[in-house]
Subunit: 385 residues, 2 copies
Amino acid sequence: MSTLEAWKNMREVCIVGIGMHKFGRWPDKSPGDLVREAALAAFEDAGCTFKDIEVGFSGRVQSVTGTGQYVFGELGQSGILIDNVEKACASASTAIRVATWVVGAGLYDVALCTGVEKMQRGLLGAPMSEASASYSQLMGLGIMPGEYAMRARRHMSEYGSTREMYAQVAVKSHKNGALNPYAQYQTPVTLEEVLNARMIADPLTLYQCSPSSDGAAATVICAREVAHRFRGKPITIAGWGSGTPSYSPVGIGGDVAEGFIAKVSKEAYERAGVGPEDVNVCQVHDAFSAGEVFAVEELGFCPTGEGGQFIWEGRADIGGDKPVNTDGGLESRGHPMGATGIAQAIEIVHQLRGDAGPRQVPGNPTVGLQHNVGVGGCNILIYKK
Amino acid sequence: MSTLEAWKNMREVCIVGIGMHKFGRWPDKSPGDLVREAALAAFEDAGCTFKDIEVGFSGRVQSVTGTGQYVFGELGQSGILIDNVEKACASASTAIRVATWVVGAGLYDVALCTGVEKMQRGLLGAPMSEASASYSQLMGLGIMPGEYAMRARRHMSEYGSTREMYAQVAVKSHKNGALNPYAQYQTPVTLEEVLNARMIADPLTLYQCSPSSDGAAATVICAREVAHRFRGKPITIAGWGSGTPSYSPVGIGGDVAEGFIAKVSKEAYERAGVGPEDVNVCQVHDAFSAGEVFAVEELGFCPTGEGGQFIWEGRADIGGDKPVNTDGGLESRGHPMGATGIAQAIEIVHQLRGDAGPRQVPGNPTVGLQHNVGVGGCNILIYKK
């Protein structure tokens, strides 16, 4: 039996509850405080309590040991299995993926996934991982804005994309984020403001970089066959793909390795039985605006080299044919590393339920795709109504 | 379908390769150096290369992000999925359990699990987790030796166990460790030496406390149906249990919560279809000697209150009827936190294969049990020849 057949033989798994703590700066709150608010919101959404939860997966990056045990302890004392998973900025979507595995296999019926981070300031200029600290940093690489900027520059040279196109990603993100009460930044910016902002790594200015953020997100996941226990419409986790890009002594390439998103998305599309043409709404990992350009190409929404034009023409707008980062994305919603992957999933659930309010994608979207990446690798998850 | 039926419907999963880096102090080596040696030894043992590995799980506690990606990158650049898992001192057995899930579900055929740690000195006197830092420490609790010592004292009061019985655990551990070339400490100690050593937390003296250690361990895990690709006799992962003990503001209770090992082992016994009477060899989490006394009781090897006597009478010796910690355990083999759970599994594989040399348990052992615990919870894994 192939791995694809094995996946198709597993139980259908779905999301039945979602909750967030607003992203931003929360100096007076502990990670436990942030997760508690997100998880209780997810329970309220699902119409359940912690007693309904059979297993838990906790995502966090800058962690002391036992984060999951601590934050779940704040919710209740039930003795369930709680594992911490870490995949850098893709930690929270890893929690969803592992929960999907165990619920799909029938080992548990109901899981809680949480993601949380309280980020130190200035982190994105610091070595992100043991690998970059060991090699890349020594060679002046391994710093995130620089890696994105280098690929962006090459893209400009090879395909004629422009700094205005990258800047337009940030304009769109902040426009969408202004409609999201959980976003860290809720103020629109103009193209001129983005272009004239402080340069971080040419061609990427301040508004094109995700901020340091605090925040938490939580989701209740269950087998489709027990979803009737919960209120609301279940959203199915239809497919997943995951991998870790080639490690290289010059730049770990975790976020920006060329062709890698395409490779992983192929896995996810196959498992979900859909193609790029079927995706109605998409959340991508725009840690830096250029990342969205690379993603829309590699996910198959447009030909290679045309990602900048795709954004520029408004095709990724909420009213476009392939809306991307409808919640403001990492740049405007914020990017508390260990929580981002669940925040992305939550936005897709809102869109597929049709309750995204002023951010709602028109036309009854039925398929959503999430792209969450970090130096730990890339997770792609596909959801169906 | 119950979770037990679901487990029984999954594919049989087994260990086909094992490798370690000697535990000890390795100031000149990086975690990548340590894992590379352990993993290459596991490949040699299995008769395979990194190209045969389809998915990886990396355990580590005191981690920067991306440990798994980094250490796997040292082995080869293949783009496979690599997840980091963290469950405090039970991190490495968590890697084995998660690998067992995905291989058992048919999603992958061959996995590599690694565990590594380079520990700072004096760690065990420091706050171990966010929970203990937040609550227990403020109340003077949450420090590991103290928590074990308190339960040991209560056990002495309730059941009449003696300080000599606890000390005998350390005598046995160091006797076994002296037979293990991968052990951090390979020198036997006498009962008098243990009793007269520096007091750490009454009644536990220095020799009854696991050391701070550096080290790595690795194991190749595959579906039984593809085990023919590898050389050597596969050892089946027959059952598992896992949970997180009740969180309490006075002592997180992760290691020493009473009744918790019994609860989790019941799950593991059920999944494996065996009982305590069937276990021929056992590795328990003797972070402190008293832990072995609690474990042999809760695992069902002897009645409650008689664990000290059980050890004292030599029943847990290599020649006894229920050999425990044949490799020296945490106290003598060492306890690099993120690696311990795989080191325990490796010793069981040696014993069930019958190649444990001078440590070999006589009488052709066929069932082994591993008990690995931390503030993150408890994993129990049962192996069959």
